[in-house]
């Protein structure tokens, strides 16, 4: 008899309709605890809306989202303390220093031994020299590191990332990816990563869900997807899916 492992995130026939159209249409997937999954899709594919429903920020029109067994958004307060999120679409107060921001969020998440945790994160994310500077005065790369520190402040079991390396130079982006890999390895966290960056997804993710127009077009391990589409990179697979397989092949040299 096999023990049944409850998924960390279970999305079941999720639908989100707005007056202007359907953002997410009948999306279902389940993420194993400790897995890293990439959510790929072009602009308007429904990635951010799906993430927002998982976090309880958006109420689904129909379907259900369970995070660590809690139904979102109704039972969100059971799990919000064990989740966190990073996105270029939200900021932290710009006039507060990095230390003040981390202190506020640390208190919101009831982080024990907060000064030590902030010092630990500052060391890990190379923020020591920035801690007493206003967040608004930092460069884009520095702000991303601060946002990542905020996302990791509570050592989340579920980490949701929406384009975490958008607008970063390749070196900083690579640096951020390395820190994410290390966090996942150390904490066994479940990571769901929405991204346009195929190299990032290829490097970090053991599973890839490709969305198009609010629906899941494909869902598998990167290697399986490459074999299925007869491609060498996820970018080519992504173009196959987004443009239509035959069209992409015709466009290929």
């Amino acid at each position: 008899m096999h023990a049944v492992i409850e998924p960390a995130i279970a999305v079941d026939h999720l639908v989100k309709r707005y007056a202007t159209g359907t953002a997410v249409a009948e999306v279902s997937f389940a993420l194993s605890p400790g897995s890293v999954t990439g959510l790929l899709g072009g602009n308007g594919a429904g990635k951010t809306t799906t993430l927002a429903m998982i976090m309880g920020l958006v109420t689904p029109t129909s379907g259900a989202v369970r995070v660590l067994g809690a139904l979102m958004p109704r039972q969100r307060y059971r799990v919000l303390g064990r989740m966190n999120f990073e996105s270029p679409y939200v900021d932290m107060p710009m006039r507060l220093t990095v230390r003040q921001n981390l202190s506020v969020f640390g208190r919101l998440y009831a982080v024990a031994q907060l000064p030590e945790r902030i010092a630990e994160l500052a060391g890990d994310l190379d923020l020591c020299d920035l801690l007493d500077r206003p967040t608004g005065k930092l460069s884009a790369g520095q702000k991303t590191r601060v946002a990542l520190a905020k996302a990791l402040i509570n050592r989340p079991a579920i980490l949701l990332l929406d384009e975490p390396t958008a607008s970063l130079d390749p070196d900083t982006a690579d640096w951020v990816r390395a820190r994410l890999e290390r966090y996942r390895a150390e904490r066994g966290a479940t990571v769901l990563l929405a991204s346009h960056n195929m190299a990032e997804v290829e490097r970090l993710c053991e599973r890839v869900i490709i969305m198009k127009k609010g629906r899941i077009e494909d869902d598998d391990k990167p290697g399986v997807l490459l074999a299925r589409y007869g491609r060498r990179t996820l970018e080519e697979v992504f173009l196959d899916v987004v443009r239509g397989r035959g069209e992409a092949r015709a466009a290929a040299p």
Binding site: A52, M92, P93, F105
Partner: protein, 273 residues
């Protein structure tokens, strides 16, 4: 050969039209912005109109009631600045695009509101204490001389200001920063109706019913009574408290409804205009 369009003084009619259209599209899609256009003129006209009526019938009254205006101004500021203090703290999160971070944190709405109420008191204290001391220095008017009566007035005014602040915050959450102007203007609707500078009897009979449904009216009626006649209407303060409890419950309920609506509309991540 490309035909060049002349742009006198660097002015492009096309770009100007585009911007006019941009603001027009914005205006017609945002009822708070439209409301604001008629709001100020209507409120100002009502308030000064009633004041004029009052002065015309009671000119001799001012000789023995000069302190009532200063008292009214100070109490009005408690009401207005209390709400502004609440609303600005809330708007700071919207301006900073931080509301998404807060909504996915374990912070509960009631905790958020409690923090805003505390900040309202802090901001009020910083702003009002020096002003009340100036009133003593310049006019010999000591608001603190009201003693426990002042506590009753203050409690009722601050409860109303928080209730209005909660309502406005819900509207901004639901409608985005397009509703921000309500934070600055909505309290002025109470200025003529709560009879800050004149007695309720100045109002037409039907509007008196509206005035007595507003908790601050009881305070602004009670203030001249204590200053001129040295009579404290404790029963009026209790009535105001009862109304405040109802108003506060309505405000919290509406806030919860608007927050749920914001979740349905997906507006918690999109907190722009």
């Amino acid at each position: 050969m490309t035909r060049r369009t002349r742009e006198p003084l660097g002015l492009s009619a096309q770009r100007v039209t585009a911007m006019v259209l941009r603001y027009w599209y914005l205006l017609r899609s945002s009822w708070p912005r439209l409301l604001e256009l008629i709001y100020w003129p209507a409120v100002q006209m009502l308030m000064w109109g009633f004041l004029q009526l009052y002065i015309a019938g009671n000119a001799s009254f001012f000789a023995r009631a000069s302190g009532t205006f200063i008292g009214a101004v100070l109490l009005w500021d408690i009401l207005f600045r209390g709400q502004i203090g609440f609303s600005i703290s809330f708007l700071e999160e919207m301006w900073a695009r931080n509301i998404g971070n807060l909504m996915i944190s374990p912070l509960r709405p009631v905790e958020f509101v409690a923090a805003l109420m505390i900040m309202s008191l802090v901001r009020l204290a910083i702003g009002m204490v020096p002003v009340t001391l100036l009133a003593v220095a310049f006019f010999g008017f000591n608001l603190y001389g009201l003693g426990l009566v002042l506590a009753a007035f203050f409690a009722n005014l601050i409860l109303t200001s928080w209730a209005i602040g909660i309502l406005v915050s819900g509207l901004v959450l639901r409608n985005g920063l397009g509703a921000e102007s309500l934070a600055w203007t909505v309290m002025f609707l109470l200025l003529p109706l709560a009879c800050v500078y004149y007695p309720v009897t100045v109002l037409p009979a039907w509007l008196q019913l509206v005035a007595w449904s507003l908790p601050p009216t009881y305070v602004f009626e009670g203030m001249p009574a204590i200053l001129i006649d040295h009579v404290f209407g404790g029963d009026l303060m209790l009535e105001a408290l009862g109304l405040n409890v109802v108003l506060f419950a309505i405000a919290v309920s509406v806030f919860v409804i608007l927050l749920d609506s914001a979740r349905r509309q997906g507006s918690l991540l999109q907190t722009g205009e």
